[in-house]
Amino acid sequence: MKVLMSLLPSLPALPIPRALLSHYRRHPLQLLALATMIVLATMLWTGVNHLTSQARASLDQSEQAVAERQQVVRDDGQALMVEDFVSLRLVGVCVMPWLEVTPASGNRIIGIDPLAAHCFGAGAARGGDQPLDGKPFVDMSTAASAGEAHLYLLTPDSTQDSDLPAAYHLKTFATGPETGELGDSFLLNLEALGVLVLLITALLLRSVYLLGLAQRRDSFALLHRFGVSPGQVQRWLVLEIIALALICVVPGVGLGRWLAAGLGGGFGQALDGLFDIPLYAGQGQGWITPVLVMLTVVVIACLGDLLLLRFRERLSLSVPNQGRLATALFLAGLVMAWLAPSLPWVFVAVALVFAGAAWLTPTAVTGFANWRAGQSKAPLARWRYRELAVLARRLTLPLVALQFALAMVLAIQALVTTFEDTFDRWLGQRLEAAYYIEVPAGADSRKAVDWLTGHQASNPGMQWHQVIRGSTRMADKAAASRQQVDVYALAPISTLITGWGLLEAEDHPWETLAGNKGVMINEQLARRQTLGAGDTLQLVLDGQTRDMRILGVYPDYGRPVGEVLMNAEALPENFIARSESFSITPGELGITSVTDGLKRLWGVETLSMRDNSTIRELATGVFDQTFALTRAMTVLTLILAASALLMMGWVFFTTRAWYFRLLVVWGMSQRQVAGQLLRLALALTGGIALLALPLGIWLTWVLVHRINPLAFGWSLPMAVYPTFWLELGALSLAIGVSIAALMRRQLGKPSVARVSASALTGGER
C-alpha cells in the first residue's frame, strides 16, 4: 500500500493511469481497504490450505506409523538375531531391521537402519534420506546401547511366503490400527472446506473492489467526457488490479503460513509428547501454488465479469434480478445433489445451489422487506422495511459472503462434532481392551484361555477375550456369486464388546451371541447384501453351508470388507485362523503379571503386544488437534466476513446518513433514530443468519449423506446441533449491533453532509 502510494508521483506522465490513481491519492483509505482485503483473504485461504495439507501429511504419517506391515518370523517362534538378518539378505529377501528398545525409564526407542531400508522403496522407507536425529527413531547402534532390545525384520508387502527360506514365514507387523477411510473422509471434507473458504474470500474481495469502483464512478465519467474510451479504462483497471494483487498476495501467503504454523506449532508439540513417532508434518505446501491460486482468484473476483458485461453496466452495482434463473439453478442443484450418481456431479450440484443461493438471498430479503413494507400500516415500520430492502440490495455481496460463512461454520461444526463422536466410538471398537497380545506361532491358545479364566476368578477387574480372525465364504442364494467375508470370532463374549452401539439389533443380542445362537454382521455387509437383524446368513464353514441368524448390525466406520462377528465356539476345529490374539484389560493383576504368565505358558521370550491406550491417546491427539484447527479456521473466515460486512455497512451508511438525519429534522430524537438503526441492522444480520441455517443444514447433509457415501461407500450419522445454531444466531445479532453502533457514531456528528451525488437525483432505493 505504502509502496503503491510512493509510486504515484513518479509515474510517467500517462494521463489515464494518473487520473485513475489520483482517486486513490485523495482516498488512500479505499486503497488500503482493498489491499487489506486481498492480504487477509490470501492469508485465510493459505492458512486453511496449509493446515489441510499438514493435516493430510500428519494423518498419512500417523497411519503409516501404525499401519499393518509384514515381518519375517522364525517358524520355531524364537527371537530373531543378527544372523537371521544376514541369511535373509543373502538369499535376496528385502528386510529392514527394526529394533525396539524399552529403556528402564522413558519412551520406547526404535532403531532402524536407513541403508537397509532402501529396498522398501520411497514410500515405506521413511527416514531413508533424512538424517536420523529425531528422538524416537535413532540409528541401530544408538538404540542397541540403550537397553534390552527386541529385533523385528520388516519386509515389503510384495514379499511372498515362497520367497523366504525354510524355517521362516511371514506375519503381520501391526503397531496399531489403521485410521483408514475415516481419516481420508475427514480430509476430503476439509478440502471441501478449503474450496468454500476460497469462494467466500472471492466474494468479499469482489464486494470491496466493486465498492471502490462505484466510488470512482465520477472519475470514470470525467475520463469518458475527456474522450477516453471505456476499453482503455478497462485495460488500465486490469493492470491496476494485477499490480495490486502482486503486491498484496505474497505477504498474504506469508501471513497465512505464519498463521498455520502458529496454530500448528502447538499441535506438533502436543503430538511429540504423546507418542514415540514424529507425527506432525510441519511442512505444508510451498509458495508457488497459493500465490498463483490467489492471483487468479483476485483477478477473477474483481474482473471476472469484465468480458461478459459492458463497462457501464458493470459500474452499476446491482445484481441482475433474474430471480427465475436463480431459482432454476437453485432447484436444479438441489435435485442434482440428491440424485447425483458420482462425486463430480455432487460438487457441480453444490456449486449450483450456492450460486442460486447467492442470487436468491438478496432477492428474497428485498422481496420480503418490500412485502412487509406493503403490509405495515405504521409509517415508520414501512420506512424501515424499505430501507432494509435498500440495504440488502446494496450490501448483497458481503451479505452473501456472511451467509456462506455462517452456513459453512454450521456445516463444519456439525461435521467435526460428528467425526469426533464417530472417531471415539470407532476407537472404542478397534481398541476395546487396554492390551492386545498376539498368540505366537505354534503356541497353544487353549492354555492361555484356561490360565486367563483361572486368573479372572480372583481378579474381578480383569476383562479379556480371545480373538480369532480369518475368512470364509458366503453361500449366496445365487450360487454364482460367492462372497468372501472376514470372520471375527470371539470367546468369551465379554463386557469389552457388549457396550458397542448397534445400528439395528434383535432383543438381547449379546446374550444370544454368547449362547452361540447367531451372529452379527458389519454395516458394510448389511448394505451390500441388504441384510438386517432377524435375517438369515448362509456361511460356508468346514465345507458345509450353515444358516446363521443375524442378531444385529454393528457400525464399521469405513471398513471396506464385509465381516461376520461370531462366537468362537461356532468355528469348526479345522478353521484356518489368519491371526489369533487376546484382548486383555488386566485390572489389578497388572500387565506384567499377565505377560510373564503367558510367556512362561507358551515358552517364549517375547510377546507381540500392543498398548492400546497409547495408540488411543495418539490417534485422539492427532484428530483433536485437526478438529480444533478446522474450527479455528472456519471461525476466522466468519470473522473476516463479519468485518467485511461491518466495513461495507459503514461505507454504505456514509451515503445514507443524511436520510437518518432527516428523521431527526422531522422531530425524532437521536435515541429513537438510533433505535431504528439498530432494528434495521438486526433485521439484516438476523435475516441472513436465518437464511444461512437451511443452507448450512443442507451442506451438512450433502457432506455426510452424499459426498461421503459416494467417496467411501459408507455414511456418518447426521446430527444437528441447535445450541450451536443459537450461538451463531447470537453472533449474527452481535454483528448487527456493531454495525448499528458504528452507524450511530456517524449519526452523532453535528453536520451530516448530503454527500452522495445520488442525492441530486433523489437518492438510491
Partner: protein
C-alpha cells in the same frame, strides 16, 4: 399587531475550526409574527443555514434567547435534554424544514413520503393525496423520488411540509438547484400556500427576486459586515 410566532433576542453562534474561533451569528435580534414571511439573505458563508438550524434546535446557540410559540429557549441554561425534547416536538408538529435537496426518503414513494411526514406530525394521512394534487403532482404519487424531476421533488417536499400543518416553515434555498422557470413556479406555490394557511416562513435565499416576495428582509451578510 399580529401575535408573535417567533422572537429572537441577542442570538450568537460561533464555530471553532482548528484553533480559530469563527463568529457566525452575533447578537441577532428580530421577531416574526404569525403568518409572516422573512427572507434571509447574505453572501455564502454568512450564516443563513446556521441560523435556520438554530431556529429549529438542530444547533444550540452560544448566547441569546429564542421564544417559539411561547416556549422560551435560553442559551446555556441547564436541562439540555428537556430542551432537545421540546425542540424535537416542535420540529415534529410545528416547524417544517425544506432543504435545497434530499428532502424525501428515497425508498418511499412520493405519497408514502407525505403520509410518513403527516403521520409523524400526528395529522390525518388521508389528506396526503390531496396535498400532492394541490401541488400539481397528484399523478406522480406512486413514483419514487429518483423517478421524478428536481422541481417535482421540491413540490413533493412542500406537500410534506404543508401536510403537517406547520406554524413555521424554514426553507433553506428550496429552489437553489432548480432552473429559473421551475424555481419561479415552485416559489409561487410556496407563497400561495403559505398565505392561504397562514404559517410563518423564513426563507434563506441568494435570489433577490425571491427575497422580494417576502414581507421582511434580514441581511446576515450586511450584519456581519458591520
Amino acid at each position: 399587531m399580529t401575535e408573535s410566532l417567533l422572537a429572537v433576542r441577542g442570538l450568537s453562534k460561533h464555530f471553532v475550526s482548528g484553533n480559530e474561533t469563527v463568529p457566525v451569528i452575533e447578537k441577532l435580534t428580530f421577531t416574526l409574527g404569525q403568518g409572516q414571511s422573512l427572507a434571509l439573505v447574505g453572501r455564502s458563508g454568512s450564516g443563513k443555514s446556521t441560523l435556520l438550524n438554530l431556529l429549529c434546535g438542530l444547533e444550540s446557540p452560544d448566547a441569546g434567547t429564542i421564544v417559539m410559540q411561547g416556549q422560551v429557549f435560553e442559551a446555556g441554561s441547564a436541562a439540555t435534554r428537556e430542551k432537545a425534547a421540546a425542540w424535537a416536538d416542535l420540529r415534529r408538529q410545528q416547524i417544517g424544514v425544506v432543504f435545497q435537496e434530499a428532502n424525501l426518503m428515497p425508498a418511499l414513494t412520493l405519497l408514502e413520503n407525505v403520509r410518513f411526514r403527516a403521520q409523524l406530525a400526528g395529522r390525518d394521512p388521508a389528506n396526503s393525496e390531496d396535498w400532492l394534487t394541490r401541488l400539481d403532482i397528484g399523478e406522480l404519487a406512486q413514483r419514487y423520488p429518483d423517478q421524478v424531476s428536481g422541481g417535482q421533488r421540491q413540490r413533493a417536499a412542500l406537500a410534506m411540509v404543508f401536510s403537517m400543518e406547520p406554524a413555521l416553515i424554514l426553507a433553506d434555498e428550496p429552489t437553489g438547484s432548480l432552473d429559473r422557470q421551475t424555481a419561479a413556479e415552485v416559489t409561487q406555490v410556496l407563497f400561495d400556500l403559505q398565505a392561504r394557511y397562514r404559517c410563518g416562513l423564513i426563507l434563506a435565499t441568494h435570489d433577490a427576486e425571491l427575497a422580494a416576495g417576502c414581507q421582511q428582509l434580514l441581511d446576515l451578510g450586511h450584519m456581519s459586515a458591520v
